[in-house]
């Protein structure tokens, strides 16, 4: 996680704190995103996709960031059908990112 580590000034404990926050915050965010998509709440979808994009960008997760950006664009255009299909991809990518972050956390325990 060199990008993230550099972002927190080389502080391993801070990096683990940030990873823990992301692992904690992201699943409920994605669940809400799914609900809002089903409810066709465009404004909420736009906001949540934007939040996910910003949050994931800290981990250099380019695929998640790009998909979230795409979802944001579809929501802004009001195309919720296209947004649904982007969301499916995004959901899978987020799961992959969370799994790899979990693995990283287990392999490199917090030493401060």
């Amino acid at each position: 996680m060199p990008g993230l580590l550099a972002r927190v000034g080389g502080d391993t404990a801070a990096m683990h704190g940030v990873i823990a926050l992301f692992l904690e915050d992201t699943p409920p965010l994605v669940a809400t995103l799914r609900e809002k998509l089903d409810a066709k709440d465009t404004a909420a979808v736009l906001h949540l996709a934007h939040a996910l994009k910003g949050s994931a960008s800290n981990f250099d997760a380019t695929t998640v960031t790009a998909l979230a950006k795409d979802l944001e664009a579809r929501a802004r255009a009001g195309d919720l059908a296209a947004a649904q299909s982007v969301f499916l991809e995004l959901d899978a990518e987020v799961s992959r990112l969370l799994t790899s972050l979990e693995r990283f956390r287990r392999q490199a325990p917090c030493v401060s």
Binding site: L4, A6, R7, V8, G9, D11, A14, G17, V18, L21, F22, D25, H47, H50, A51, K53, G54, S55, S57, N58, D60
Partner: protein
Amino acid sequence: MRVLIADDDAVTTRILSKIITSAGYAVTVVSSGAEALEALQAEDPPDIALLDWVMPEMDGPDVCKAVKARERPAPTYLILLTAKGGSTDVIAGLEAGADDYLVKPVNPGELRARLNAGARIVQLQQSLAAHVQQLQDALASVKTLTGLVPICGYCKSIRDDSDYWHRVEEYISDHTGAQFSHGICPSCMDALEKRGVWHS
């Protein structure tokens, strides 16, 4: 120096806090535009604020506009955070009243450099504001003499607003705080000598 971070993403605020605290600044975090505005309009606002562009209730540019609408002698230095980075966004942000902007995810070195640049401007403004205050205080204690002063063409007495006539020294002393030391000028001395009143 105190820095406010306004962003609704906990991951981003955690990272920003870490970088900013390590750079020696005191950090406060809020998660909405409305909370940011409240902190910025408080009696003792933060010196620098990092405002996310997209926030619940009120976005970053709107917060900038509201803050700039209220003039202060040493205003908070406002930095907008944007994930967009397009030049139109930058222009819109700066025109809304932001002093600077940063693109997310933030590069720590760039953040520190821009904070330090902001801190230099804040210090300069604070010291200028302090000087202006000192000058205003000084000015308030100085009496001035302005306007039309009615003066007698012969004895040079001055008439006040209540129609009383005063000697010119007395009038000037009362209105300016200046004091007089009396003497005789060379031409008056000559005239007095000619009249036999004065012998040098």
